[in-house]
């Protein structure tokens, strides 16, 4: 009886070990957690809003991290994995959405257009700032000259400096 039980127990033990070890093999031990997180930090959780995959504790994120591990184990590059996730789950799961469609317009073309518009407005504003005072000076002097032409010929009142010079000349003349 012992002769039968011992080999059976041993066989059960070996089978148990194999069954337990299978999920470990499936995890692809050649890919480290750091390598997985390197990709996972640029992908967002599908359940929690704006939470990167590498710090999210939900089951959905754990599944996605395992998917990344599998993809890395199969030799996929980071970009290929991002492409796969975008295709499967939409561009919205990527921290840096690919430059196409709406994201191309909103994230790349629109900022350039806004900068150009801003520069155009700024240059117009600066041009207005330059032209307005000049126009004001011209207009003021034109008004002055018009005033001069319209008033009768009366000698202009001496300025303080002219008075001062006249007084000096007078003093010098006395000497």
């Amino acid at each position: 009886m012992r002769r039968i039980i011992r080999p059976s127990l041993f066989a059960l033990f070996v089978l148990g070990l194999i069954a337990f070890a299978q999920p470990l093999w499936a995890q692809d031990s050649s890919v480290s957690d750091d390598e997985v997180n390197e990709v996972a930090r640029d992908i967002y959780c599908p359940v929690c809003e704006s939470t990167p995959l590498d710090v999210c504790a939900t089951q959905a994120c754990a599944d996605w991290r395992e998917l990344i591990r599998t993809k890395l184990g199969e030799g996929n590059s980071k970009d290929e994995i991002f492409e796969y996730f975008a295709r499967q789950y939409g561009d919205g799961v990527l921290a840096n959405p690919p430059r196409r469609g709406v994201s191309l317009i909103i994230l790349w073309i629109l900022p350039v257009v806004l900068i150009l518009v801003g520069l155009l407005l700024f240059s117009r504003m600066m041009r207005n700032l330059r032209t307005v005072p000049e126009a004001a000076v011209v207009t003021d002097s034109a008004v002055e000259s018009t005033k001069v032409q319209n008033t009768p010929a009366t000698p202009p009142e001496p300025t303080a400096q002219e008075e001062y010079l006249a007084r000096i000349e007078e003093e010098l003349g006395k000497k």
Binding site: P46, A60, G90, L120, A142, T146
Partner: protein, 196 residues
Amino acid sequence: MSDLTHTTAQDEESKPRGIRWGMVALWGAVITLLVLLGWGLVRTNATRPEAGEAAPDFDVEFFNGFEWEGQPVANLSDMHGKVVVINFWASWCVECRLEADLIEDTWRKYEDQDVVFLGVAYSDVEPNAIAYLDEFNITYPNAPDLGTDISDMYEITGVPETFFVDKEGTIRHVQIGPLNQQTMDGVIQQLLGDSG
């Protein structure tokens, strides 16, 4: 001085006024910006289609081993004339597991009538989704939500979420969270009865 000023002003007035390309570009950019902002606002404020509204149309490519009328792909509009139960689920969703057996049993109960059950796996990893379908012996057509296009159209807030669509393609009931037998039977029988 006065003459000079006058001459300059007259010159300015007599200049032919061509197209101001700068202004055209400026207004073009402003209008584009407003259109984009408006469009973004409309998209952000899009709400879940409710009972009484037309069910948004979509295409699905079923998981391996699943089909509808012998085809591996289908379109919601192909199912016109039948009551359609669209169930959003995921293998990582605990509450989906609570209703999985119930949905399969109800499908088997009504599959000979004009009722189609359609499972849509939301943000799921394909091997896990297939393992889930195997675990619960699910036989009704099931497909992944590629690019989350379908869940975006239906504006789901989570899983499980179920939409009951009548034979005319109008949503008649939306169930947020797990279903129960009473709701399923009640809504399906009403929809089957409504259209004779």
